[in-house]
């Protein structure tokens, strides 16, 4: 055997501790985690829209969007739905338990092109988890952006994630929040209907000076993008984030390939312009 220690092994996950967790809604849990190595915890930085690979030894590894903002360093936040073997094992973990992470991976949202522009953030269902990162990033650097609109839709009030946080943000006067559910209950006081109905509430925008970001289930993209196009927002100013199966996160295992692109390296954020050239993106 020849020792190969001179190379930093990019597949080796680092230990992180679950600092706090609570249930968002049924089967959806919020986790705050921190690298055990304090130097790593403080130096770990990322772009909103990037993801990490989370490992539980013996169960496996999978990609998860980062839900926290790099403007609040030290702690990473994840919003996780119990949906498979790894997430089931993750839901059994308690505060102070150790999990393993590596990353950050992917490109993240193109923040440069959003600076000093209006920003429309549209989230559907679970898609709000990565968008929460850019939402807080924008709020923490509020003077760098022009008007900000946050549109979030879910099926029912019981599916609405981060309810307390988002209704608190709604009270702020430097962001316009619009929430909607398809099937309201008697306590629901916000809009009713699919998220695209919220576009009617938007004030007049200058499309060239506007950036749009959308994350949601695959079926949602077409309808939301149609609304952006109706507003005449340029195709390369519409960004979306994609989900794919991933085993490595660094462009080796092949699973997330879309033509010559790797979702893990070239994505997960793509512009609508990209999707016109790579027809398998959405």
């Amino acid at each position: 055997m020849i020792v190969n220690e001179q190379i930093d092994n990019p597949f080796k996950p680092k230990a992180a501790r679950i600092v706090r967790h609570y249930d968002l809604i049924k089967d959806h849990r919020f986790f705050q985690i921190r690298h055990i190595d304090m130097k790593k915890a403080m130096s770990f930085t990322y772009n909103p829209g990037q993801f990490i690979m989370v490992s539980i030894p013996g169960v496996g590894e999978a990609p998860f969007s980062i839900s926290s903002t790099p403007s609040r360093p030290g702690i990473l936040e994840l919003g996780i739905r119990k949906v498979g073997k790894l997430t089931e094992a993750l839901f059994k973990k308690k505060d102070n338990d150790v999990i393993y992470i590596r990353g950050p991976y992917g490109n993240g949202f193109k923040l440069d092109q959003m600076v000093n522009k209006d920003l429309i953030i549209v989230a559907g269902g679970l898609g709000v988890i990565p968008l929460r990162s850019i939402l807080y990033y924008v709020l923490d650097n509020r003077d760098q952006f022009n008007r900000v609109f946050f549109l979030y839709g879910t099926r029912s009030p019981q599916d609405f994630l981060f309810k307390t946080e988002f209704f608190q943000i709604k009270k702020r006067d430097d962001i316009e929040c619009m929430y909607s559910v398809d099937r309201p209950d008697k306590d629901w006081t916000e809009n009713v209907g699919v998220v695209t109905k919220l576009f009617k509430e938007l004030p007049k925008i200058d499309p060239k000076e506007t950036n749009a970001v959308v994350v949601g289930p695959p079926v949602m993209y077409k309808f939301v993008i149609d609304e952006f196009l109706k507003l005449k927002i340029p195709k390369n100013q519409i960004q979306l984030s994609l989900e794919r199966r991933m085993k490595c996160g660094i462009g080796k295992c092949g699973h997330c390939a879309i033509e010559h692109l790797y979702t893990c390296m070239d994505g997960p954020v793509f512009t609508y312009w990209d999707t016109l050239h790579f027809r398998e993106l959405i």
Binding site: I2, N4, I7, G58, G60, E61, Y100, R244, K247, G254
Partner: protein, 338 residues
């Protein structure tokens, strides 16, 4: 070099590492560890499984884990000298380099690559050789030594300083002077060989044709035929996809290993994510991805498509889906007759 020195010379290379090469194993020609030089089979035939298996092993342990975390396992890496490597195989390693050595570097592949010498050998086309079409019939880089069999003697190309070291330790076998006659013999050999290819296809124009044929019914036709068996991926020298699995030690619930195993985009669960959404549920979609990699898209990132013309897919696919039938169907817009 005179042919009579060949075996002695190759045997002497064991001081540079464990000898590997094609040998007969259970009736199949296969790259493997050579216990003695007499096992080496230098032939025009390709081993069934390509040389990628020595650099991107079918299954190996990447890391061990226990209560304290993950620790990489590099025991798969050893000093090796790999004998009898055909030009297309050397090209395939250059293609794999593009993927595995690109940042961030894969430490396993890179360790295996750095510790392996490649001793190439020329070959003559077999029934399904397509390397003349794919421009991979000769090599300019990617070897330490390369032997061209001109009958009366071997013309030996030196491709690295390690190759020089290998020759210097048995200098007496080699003649440094290349005469006009020698050059002529090499030219004659190449011309003779160029005429021996029985099959060819439109490799150079395939990227454009693939782009135009994204919605072609050809994919549905072949999708209906495809068995999703994944043989094409196993035998393709540039298929690099893999899966990762954790395995607990039999006797322990906290100790185990993380293994890497070959995967294929032909398998139905290749693009399946938790929650049940499958981004490539149809065989036609998966076939288009596979052939995109071989004939088109790999080129955008790495300069050329993945196919290196070895013809293994032609040999192997049980329902005749291969670079020949696909490219023919796409260029003639006709699906093959049953």
């Amino acid at each position: 070099m005179q042919p009579k020195f060949l075996e002695v010379f190759l045997e002497s290379l064991d001081k540079f590492g464990q000898l590997y090469g094609p040998k007969q194993k259970n009736g199949v020609l296969s790259y493997d560890r050579l216990e003695s030089i007499s096992e080496l089979v230098i032939t025009d035939e390709h081993p069934m499984i390509p040389i990628k298996k020595l650099f991107h092993p079918m299954q190996f342990t990447m890391m061990h884990f226990n209560e304290r975390g993950f620790e990489p396992d590099y025991s798969v890496i050893e000093k090796r000298v790999i004998l009898g490597v055909h030009p297309c195989e050397i090209h395939s390693l250059l293609r794999l380099d593009d993927v595995f050595l690109r940042n961030p570097v894969d430490p396993y592949y890179s360790g295996l690559r750095k510790n392996s010498a490649i001793i190439g050998f020329s070959c003559l086309p077999t029934e399904n050789s397509l390397c003349f079409s794919t421009d991979t019939d000769i090599v300019e880089e990617g070897f330490d030594l390369f032997f061209v069999n001109l009958g009366e003697f071997y013309l030996v190309w030196v491709g690295s300083s390690l190759g020089y070291d290998m020759i210097y330790q048995r200098e007496e076998f080699f003649d440094e002077d290349v005469t006009h006659e020698d050059i002529q013999m090499y030219i004659d050999w190449r011309q003779k060989r160029n005429k021996m290819f029985k099959k060819s296809f439109e490799f150079d124009s395939m990227p454009d044709i693939m782009e135009l044929s994204h919605d072609s019914e050809v994919w549905d036709y072949f999708g209906d035929k495809c068995l999703s068996c994944g043989q094409c991926s196993m035998v393709c020298p540039t298929c690099n996809c893999y899966n990762v699995t954790d395995v607990f030690d039999v006797t322990n619930e906290t100790v185990g290993r993380r293994d890497r195993v070959w995967d294929s985009c032909m398998f139905v669960d290749y693009s399946l994510v938790a929650g049940g959404h499958n981004f490539r549920a149809s065989r036609a979609d998966r076939l288009r991805l596979w052939y995109g990699h071989k004939l088109k898209t790999f080129g955008v990132d790495y300069g050329r498509p993945g196919c290196i013309g070895c013809g293994r897919c032609v040999d192997s696919c049980p329902v005749d889906i291969n670079v020949l039938t696909i490219s023919e169907a796409l260029t003639t817009k006709e699906v093959p007759k049953q």
